[in-house]
Subunit: 200 residues, 4 copies
DNA sequence: CATGAATGAGGCTTCATTCAT
DNA sequence: GATGAATGAAGCCTCATTCAT
């Protein structure tokens, strides 16, 4: 009588979660469909009920990454404070988010590797960075206009910020013992912001 | 001391070169031993004469990357100039080298992805960064000691520099049209150096 | 005696019809149970409610073929006319029926192929031919007895007639543009009948 | 020193032969690549060294069928005898050949089934019949021109002959005990030839 | 040293069949 | 009766690796 509730979205999420876990552990190539099925506590066939292929699962994960919301970051712009402080605050938030993404780096790096060869992956990843970059860019632009910062190309500096974050993330992956994302991020960003400030 | 360059070494290099070309084009997983053999104008059997396995070829490529010399960089330290200028100079050299590595990024990123799961790869890659990092670190240290720079943790700043470079490299891979490695690298480094300088 | 046409029988027919359509389009192997279900506007589960398996559906189709009545053909024997004319008339009816079976040839040929390996299928198909063959045989026998035909083995000639029909059907499938079943059937049968007639 | 002789043609034939044996036994669908490999005393991989896919093997078998030579049949035309005798002789040869093809009927009928859905298969099979048909047609045409036969459409009669043969082949497959290809073929052809002759 | 035919384990995927709802 | 999500056995095919020549 009661129509069975549509479980398909739930299943898809369940499979995506399992796939992320397995891909993280083994990488795209080493991970077997069977492994993902087991992790999801489903049969192989069930996976193919919800996804067309292994690649389709990977694509769904990519979307899952890209689709992250970053609304909270917007808040940083609304504070009443010097731009440099806003930037530091924003930086802190970004680093916090990165910290939380450390576990996903194995997958993210597979995407980066794929991006070197596939335009669609490049595009998707760029979308991933764009919101943050635009936020930074706007903020820096504000600093320029308010006279707080020396005249620079806001876009370029925004890219430099992102680059710093991304680079630290990579180094943190390679050497988590030595690299303290938070500390080193703050340090680097601080330097850049100091460099931006007009010398009084 | 130097390994005598017998035929064997020549063949190995020939194979490594072919493997790099093919892996760059296709990635580790998509590349077939057959493809590498063809690229090297050898038979599959010949490859197995010189390398134990596909993984062995990959490992050799890794060594090939790591083993690159960076002696020229050392020169930067010997100039007679303000540290900030030396740093800028060094930066330029590093960026130039990176520029030349852009083609190898597909392989490098596969290594990064592997590094997230394999300690040996992590170690090897760290070795790759270490010399540059130490060079930067020493230079910054000099700046501190000479009073040219504000007191900072030289190690940390060196890492921030490397991170900036690495991050730009990633972004350049994703969006080569927009990202001008040289310009943006100079910009970012310049900001940091400005931030380092003691305000007069 | 007649099986009461309950819902069950109706559903079975519905499924058989769908299966014939799909098998015609795709063949036994390429056709999926899912395809048949869709064609029948039923669910896969429903199909399994009425049939034990895919093979069971195929078997039912086989029965469906075999069970076709050919009562009308019997009429041909009752005409008052020379046997040769009766034969021509019968031939026309057979060819007309074949014409109408052209659409089912894809399935019929799958059965023929199966017949080469399965005795039960062979038996069933023979039953399919037998009535027509017996009809022909009886008619020819009449011709012999009436002295209208030269002495021949009626059974053998009946088989030759059937063979001619079947052969034309095959050729019509392979080359419908060129093969005019009706015309060529009439032509061949006419020749044989002429050959049967006693030369005056 | 001695270059290894090229075994590829040999291997292909070996595989084709094995495939014919297995397909005859099991049919295209039921036959496993593994079965063919075992029959050919090769590994699965070896099959794929010489053929791209299972379908490729089937296509090669098709070609193998089509490629049969029928030169000997041509001889029948050169005899100095009445056309009707030549036709009987030709008939005998065709039936003999068919007799020898009985074992291949399981495969041939799979092709026929496929032909109902695939134009390329139809074309190939038509090529298979064409030479024989043309031979028959020419012979009948001779009979017409010499006044030995009543005026008929030689093409049509040739098709009827072929149809008779094919039909008998089918019936022989279904009921080998009853159907004597040779006898019934001779009988039917004889009737038709009698029908062709001008009544003296 | 070099070749390339041969091997066979193992992956992805399909789909007939089942069964909880 | 009917549904369609779920199962899992089994097939085709790939490709790293071996080895006779």
């Amino acid at each position: 009588m009661a129509p069975r509730p549509d479980v398909s979205q739930e299943r898809r999420n369940q499979i995506i979660a399992a796939a992320i876990a397995v891909f993280t552990r083994l990488g795209f190539h080493e991970a077997r469909i069977e492994d993902i099925a087991k992790e999801a506590k489903l049969s192989k066939g069930a996976l193919y009920w919800y996804f067309k292929s292994k690649d389709d699962i990977i694509a769904a994960i990519m979307d899952h990454f890209i689709g992250r919301e970053i609304v909270e970051l917007e808040e940083a712009l609304k504070l009443q404070a010097p731009i440099s402080e806003k930037l530091m605050k924003l930086n802190g938030m970004i680093v916090d988010e990165m910290q939380s993404m450390l576990d996903l780096m194995p997958i993210l790096y597979e995407f980066y590797a794929a991006a070197t060869r596939r335009k669609d992956v490049r595009k998707a990843l760029l979308q991933y960075f764009r919101p943050t970059q635009q936020l930074l860019s706007r903020l820096i632009q504000q600093g320029l206009e308010s006279g707080e910062f020396v005249p620079v190309d806001a876009e370029v500096v925004a890219v430099d910020f992102i680059a710093l974050y991304e680079g630290l993330l990579l180094l943190a992956v390679l050497d988590p013992k030595t690299i303290d994302l938070k500390k080193m991020g703050a340090h680097g960003v601080n330097l850049m912001i100091e460099g931006l400030k007009v010398k009084s």
